[in-house]
């Protein structure tokens, strides 16, 4: 289909800049993108009849990684080696 309506995984490497240019970066567009991403994740892993720990465990793992990234400047002070 048209470039702007394909998923990121279906876009070939050469078309990536064009796809990024066609993307909608206004606040509503960003919010819509976040909305779609959450809905697809929710429908795939949480909104099922017999789910497992996978649904929230992935969210928690992502939260752990994000918070580690945000606090990295502070954690850097507790490194063991002097030279890296």
């Amino acid at each position: 289909g048209p470039l702007s309506e394909r998923h990121l995984m279906d876009v070939r490497l050469g078309e990536l800049p064009a796809w990024l240019a066609a993307c909608d970066f206004s606040p509503q567009g960003l919010l819509g993108g976040v909305q779609k991403a959450w809905n697809s994740y929710y429908d795939k892993y949480i909104n099922v009849k017999r789910g497992g720990p996978a649904g929230i465990s992935m969210l928690l793992a992502g939260y752990c990684l994000l918070s580690y990234g945000w606090n990295y400047q502070h954690i850097k002070c507790h490194r063991w080696r002097k030279y890296h």
Partner: protein, 227 residues
């Protein structure tokens, strides 16, 4: 909050019965990494590819100290152990409990639906019975017509009887009048005759009859004495 902005029924055709929820979620290996990642790397690196990638990344982060080992690592390790132990031990029970709750909800909804269907079916049967009853209209009206005819006949006969009684009363009256008149004439005539007879008996005749009676009595007494 995010759910309120989700667009509903954006397309023209909306499927009236919602499609049922999928049975199982997307496949996830070790509870953390979706299966798609493994399938993505399988053609190029085979089965062990993602694991080698994981090990390499982990050693890289540790050696370059992008991931620093501090007190939080120990805490994270303890927490993860407890969580994994809890999930492995009680996961099945919690899943069964949740399934039971779901089952009850579904059974309730099904019961309501079945109840509604049964009510409607009984309503349909009653309606058909009413329609069958309508066919008996002609018999009902025949019976009613018969009733009315009988009422009319009864009324007519009652009135006939009344007429007969009234006429008989008048005729009886006439007959009684005639009888009474004749009776009165009879009595009057008898009285008049008696009066005239009594009047016609002169005193002379009375004396003569009394003398005759005495003579007769004497003759009788004589004959009786003789006998």
């Amino acid at each position: 909050v995010l759910h309120t902005t989700r667009p509903l029924h954006t397309t023209q055709q909306c499927l009236a019965p919602l499609p049922p929820l999928p049975e199982k979620g997307g496949e996830v290996r070790h509870g953390l990494i979706p299966e798609e990642f493994f399938q993505f790397l399988y053609p190029k690196t085979g089965v062990t590819g993602p694991y080698m990638l994981g090990t390499g990344l982990l050693l890289y982060f540790l050696s370059k100290e992008i991931y620093v080992i501090n007190h939080e690592t120990v805490a994270a390790a303890c927490i993860l152990t407890v969580i994994i132990y809890g999930v492995k031990k009680y996961g099945a029970d919690v899943a069964a409990f949740a399934d039971k709750l779901n089952e009850e909800k579904v059974a309730q909804a099904l019961a309501v639906k079945n109840g509604a269907i049964n009510d409607l079916e009984t309503a349909i049967e009653q309606e058909k019975k009413e329609q069958w009853r309508v066919e008996g209209r002609s018999y009902l009206f025949d019976a009613k017509r018969n009733n009315i005819a009988m009422l009319l006949e009864t009324n007519y006969r009652e009135r006939l009887l009344t007429v007969y009684n009234e006429v008989k009363k008048r005729l009886d009256y006439q007959v009684a009048m005639q009888n009474l008149k004749r009776q009165k004439e009879h009595d009057h005539m008898i009285q008049w005759v008696e009066k005239s007879v009594v009047q016609s008996i002169t005193p002379q005749q009375q004396k003569d009859s009394i003398a005759k009676c005495i003579l007769d009595l004497k003759a009788l007494s004589k004959s009786a004495q003789a006998a």
